[in-house]
């Protein structure tokens, strides 16, 4: 019930949308009525084409994200715990962090073509640095006294890294991953629109070019909803993992 009230502004927005679209004040091609978009969504959902494209998109996002999270976190912790690695990688991270990741779309397409591999590489590259920085900052912030107490309780240096530095780095790493999650959807859709032959982003571009705006909006909604759900699930999981705080 609480939740229903919290999301009621969305309902108002939906009603406004329908009213404006039906009033004829804006062109139908610019803003099809919401009800038509919903009808279009159910039509799309009845085709296997839609689900194959959705699966392609999901696969690319998750493959890229998993790589970004695992490799990004490892690099971050390695940078925090080893001076030579830090000296080597710090300038690289600093230069690449502010780079607009979408600029890599043509680059990865040039390297790996229009299929899954180029999207996965793009999402991996584009999402890794927030994770790396989160893990790095978190690991650097690991309290010395906790490392000391682990060592005096019998932990080896390596063990201490796993038992103290990694969990100390966790909260900030998880924040970095949340940023990565949002970035991954942006990169996914834009790269599929520009350089792909499948995926939801590709469908948006394809339907739009064909003048099928009801369906185009339906796919836009699908992507937005996926992003929203992913973020929600992620936040719930994060709260569970960090329940000790």
């Amino acid at each position: 019930m609480q939740r229903l009230i919290r999301y009621s502004p969305l309902l108002i927005l939906a009603v406004l949308w329908e009213a404006v679209a039906r009033s004829g004040l804006v062109a139908r091609s610019a803003l099809p009525p919401l009800s038509d978009v919903i009808v279009a969504w159910f039509q799309l959902a009845g085709t296997s084409d839609f689900w194959i494209n959705a699966a392609d998109s999901l696969y690319r996002t998750f493959a890229g994200l998993i790589l970004a999270i695992v490799i990004g976190a490892l690099i971050g912790i390695a940078m925090a715990s080893s001076k030579p690695i830090r000296t080597l990688l710090n300038p690289i991270v600093e230069v690449f962090y502010p780079l607009p990741k979408s600029a890599l779309i043509p680059v990865t397409a040039l390297w790996l073509g229009l299929g899954d591999a180029s999207k996965i590489l793009l999402i991996f590259l584009g999402c890794m640095l927030p994770v790396t920085l989160g893990a790095y900052n978190g690991a650097r912030g690991a309290e010395q006294s906790l490392m000391w107490s682990a060592r005096s309780l019998g932990a080896s240096r390596l063990r201490m890294l796993v038992d103290v530095v990694a969990p100390s780095a966790l909260p900030e790493t998880l924040n970095g991953i949340r940023t990565a999650l949002a970035t991954s959807f942006v990169l996914l859709v834009s790269s599929e629109m520009i350089a792909a032959r499948s995926g939801l982003g590709f469908m948006i571009g394809f339907l739009g070019d064909g003048g099928n705006f009801d369906a185009m909006f339906a796919v836009v909604f699908t992507v937005a909803f996926m992003g929203f759900i992913a973020d929600r699930l992620y936040q719930a999981a994060m709260q569970r993992v960090l329940r000790w705080r």
Binding site: W148, R151, P167, W244
Partner: protein, 266 residues
């Protein structure tokens, strides 16, 4: 007469300088020498900032020994190890582990089998009076409860040497007195060398066999006082000899504390 046992801990002309990344270097302790016999209970007293924790960290192997040497059982300290159990002044509990998880940690590292480990952890949790809080995280505990968790965690690994940095500082008088008896009982039961930092003179006189009083910064050992009272005497705290001893040491410590204040004021 028996020949004196070889010292278990030898602190030999130790000087320690902190060199913070930003700011002035601090000479924390200056030319400290100290010998502690096996099974001895030594209290370390001194004004705030005189280097008590620093000395403990050096013995624990956390800080590098730069000037002088520290020997444990004849071997120079090269790093931390479970032979020296440490109760840290600020507890240093793992915030992502429950009370039970914290107490289990050292036993896991020692490879104690699971059943045995759970039993031992529970025994120490009970000993410090935290039954019912096994699954609480440190963030859900009071300061005194955290401190007791830290004590249980260290005692559970049954170290030869106990380095305790104001281990009862956060406890109320009642709990403190209970914990003192527990510590003494453990010390009697299983041979341990204890170095016990405290600000409480009465506690030091009650628990320790010897008390080292440190001077204000830079810390030096100002005097070492033998104090062996009959701890089983329920009226010990009212005995004139005891009161006199507390008084004598109080004066020593107070002078140093006043000196420390004056130093701080410039």
């Amino acid at each position: 007469m028996q020949a004196p046992a070889a010292a278990q801990i030898v602190v030999d002309q130790i000087t320690h300088m902190y060199r913070p990344a930003h700011g002035q270097p601090v000479l924390a302790i200056d030319d400290v020498s100290l010998e502690v016999r096996p099974r001895e209970f030594l209290a370390l007293l001194g004004p705030s900032g005189c280097g008590k924790s620093t000395l403990l960290y050096l013995m624990g192997g956390f800080l590098p020994v730069e000037t002088g040497r520290i020997l444990i059982d004849g071997k120079p300290v090269t790093g931390p190890g479970p032979d020296r159990g440490v109760v840290f002044q600020h507890f240093a509990l793992f915030p992502w582990k429950t009370v039970r998880g914290n107490v289990l940690y050292g036993l896991e590292r020692a490879g104690v089998p699971k059943e045995e480990r759970l039993k031992r952890a529970q025994a120490y949790i009970d000993m410090v009076g935290l039954q019912g809080f096994e699954n609480s995280y440190p963030s859900q505990l009071s300061g005194g409860m955290r401190q007791r968790t830290a004590i249980a965690r260290t005692l559970a690994i049954d170290p030869n040497i106990l380095l305790m940095d104001e281990p009862f500082g956060a406890l109320d008088a009642q709990t403190r007195s209970l914990m003192q008896s527990e510590l003494l009982a453990i010390w009697r039961r299983s041979p341990k060398t204890v170095i016990f930092v405290t600000h409480d003179v009465q506690e030091a006189v009650y628990l320790a066999e010897r008390i080292a009083v440190m001077s204000a910064r830079p810390g030096r050992i100002k005097s070492i006082i033998e104090t062996n009272f009959d701890r089983s005497d329920p009226n010990l705290f009212k005995q004139p000899a005891f009161i006199e001893k507390v008084d004598e040491i109080w004066n020593l410590v107070r002078n140093e504390a006043m000196l420390a204040q004056r130093l701080a004021a410039g």
